[in-house]
């Protein structure tokens, strides 16, 4: 029973991370049809933004990590700046381009960011002690959980609730939702494209910053490609959730998180290393059964 509960908490925690990533990717994808493969590198930038550039193996931070609010604000600002800059330099000239062209561009942007990081910080992994006191386990009922898991789940819940609120109640949120469902129609109805794309990039950058702080705290290591796997899982979550649907992206993220945690806990020993094969096998099956994802959006469906 305890194993099951623990597994569910693990799944919720992993799912929260994937859901945040999926939301960040899904927001941009719904609006611009941009499959942003550079998103993982936004996450990496967030983590490296904490550290003074050097090639040494131990990381020296700019800011005192005990001043949490300042750290969070600084990381958010850096990631938002990188996201807006990459949009301005790489994606904005291609607004009329085909999705495949945008995808290749985002690959290139990701490479530029990753290699810039390697140039500034060296390619060796760096140890970093960010809020490592959060890793100490605390007792919650019958379970002993690292405080970080609870922080992750709470942070994700707060962010998701805040974004839901922004999306439903504020002017920009409603415009973003309209643009994500049908950009052309939203523009006809008076949504200004430039600002709303900027807002979407900033929101997705904030999500990337949150993910990078949570992941860096958990792993305690900076690697130049640390965001790539998260991005891949997030992207897959977007697709199985239903492209263009933000709640679908979140749902997909949680599904993949739970599937990974359950398989990790309950696969027999010799088979456990093949966990990702099972996860992706399941994803292929889901796609074969529901090609347009779990939650369908009318405007996105491809007309045959």
């Amino acid at each position: 029973m305890n194993l099951f509960l623990q597994t569910m908490v693990d799944g919720l925690c992993l799912g929260s991370l994937y859901a945040l990533v999926a939301l960040g990717i899904g927001l941009i994808f719904g609006m611009l049809r941009l499959v942003n493969f550079a998103y993982g590198d936004f996450i990496t930038v967030g983590a490296y933004a904490l550290v003074i550039p050097s090639t040494s193996a131990a990381a020296v931070m700019y800011l005192d990590p005990s001043d949490a609010i300042l750290v969070v604000v600084a990381v958010c600002a850096v990631v938002a700046a990188v996201a807006l800059l990459s949009d301005r330099l790489a994606f904005q000239p291609l607004r009329q381009a085909k999705p495949a062209t945008l995808m290749v561009t985002s690959f290139a942007v990701g490479y530029v960011i990753q290699n810039a990081i390697v140039m500034l910080y060296g390619s060796r992994p760096k140890a970093i002690g960010l809020w490592s006191n959060l890793l100490a386990p605390i007792d919650v009922g019958p379970l002993r959980l690292p405080a970080l898991q609870i922080v992750t789940i709470v942070a994700a819940a707060v962010l998701l609730a805040a974004i839901t609120l922004v999306m439903r109640k504020t002017r920009y949120g409603i415009q973003m939702r309209a643009a994500a469902e049908d950009f052309a129609m939203a523009r006809f109805l008076g949504v200004r494209a430039g600002p709303i794309i900027g807002v979407a990039f900033v929101v997705s950058a904030l999500l990337a910053a949150a993910v990078s702080l949570l992941v860096t705290t958990q792993t305690g290591v900076l690697v130049s490609n640390m965001g790539v796997n998260l991005m891949l899982f997030g992207f897959v979550a977007v697709v199985i959730g239903g492209i263009g649907s933000l709640s679908g992206a979140v749902l997909g993220g949680f599904l993949i998180g739970f599937a990974s945690a359950l398989l990790q806990a309950y696969l027999p020993d010799g088979v456990r290393v093949f966990r990702d094969a099972f996860v992706f096998g399941l994803i292929v099956v889901v796609l074969l059964v529901r090609p347009s994802g779990l939650i369908k959006v009318k405007a996105i469906q491809e007309r045959v």
């Binding site: 995808m103 492209i243 290393v273 094969a277």
Partner: protein, 212 residues
């Protein structure tokens, strides 16, 4: 008024013939360079040719279907391992040491290169056929993601099936997931990025006319 303008067909055909001859000559030169040059040059040229074969393979699928396939690189991996299982490690000791999970008859086999090449083509072709039957019911981005799922499954299985693939013992650089994903980039990202070969004559024809 030139002769070429009166006979655009002949001029265009000559132009193509020249292009094909130039292309063929370059290719022959490169093959010779790859075969005879020693050191890094030979290696670079050989690698370039391998990539070119990959691109042609990708193009045949991506260019004609419009589906961006992330998964095609996994067929390359399937073929490579098929070849390695048959041809690798001529010494009687090495193969059972590294790949103890292989069936008995394979452990004692060290086939010549061409057998490995044939087996690679057959095994990857067969698996592509079987998987294609299932996956190609999908279209658009769902199909792309399904092929990515395939890549992830194949990558994970081959990396961790130690006794048969020695996954972790080989250079990790060559079994990096992102690296395999990059494969599709070689193709320029889909049919809209590449020009179809059939378009080339048309375009030259049009360009030739407009130029005069």
């Amino acid at each position: 008024m030139t002769v070429a303008m009166l006979q655009p067909g002949i001029e265009a055909r000559r132009h193509h013939a020249r292009q094909y001859v130039a292309g063929l000559a370059t290719l022959c030169g490169l093959v010779a360079l790859g075969a005879f040059a020693s050191g890094p040059m030979g290696g670079t040229v050989t690698e370039m040719m391998i990539r070119m074969v990959v691109v042609v393979g990708l193009y045949i699928f991506v260019g004609n279907s419009g589906i961006i396939s992330f998964g095609h690189i996994s067929f390359m991996s399937i073929g490579a391992y098929a070849a390695a299982w048959l041809t690798c490690c001529t010494l009687p000791m090495v193969k059972p040491l590294y790949l103890p999970g292989l069936p008995e008859w394979l452990q004692n086999t060290a086939a010549p290169f061409w057998v490995g090449l044939l087996a690679a083509a057959i095994l990857s072709g067969l698996s592509a056929f079987v998987l294609g039957l299932a996956l190609m019911r999908l279209s658009g981005i769902a199909a792309s993601i399904a092929t990515f799922g395939l890549l992830a499954v194949q990558f994970n299985v081959y990396t961790n099936w130690e006794s048969v693939t020695a996954g972790h013992q080989f250079d990790q650089q060559h079994t990096d997931l992102r690296r395999s994903l990059d494969g599709f980039l070689l193709c320029g990202g889909g049919d809209r990025g590449c020009s179809r070969p059939s378009e080339f004559p048309v375009r030259h024809h049009v360009a030739g006319r407009a130029g005069r």
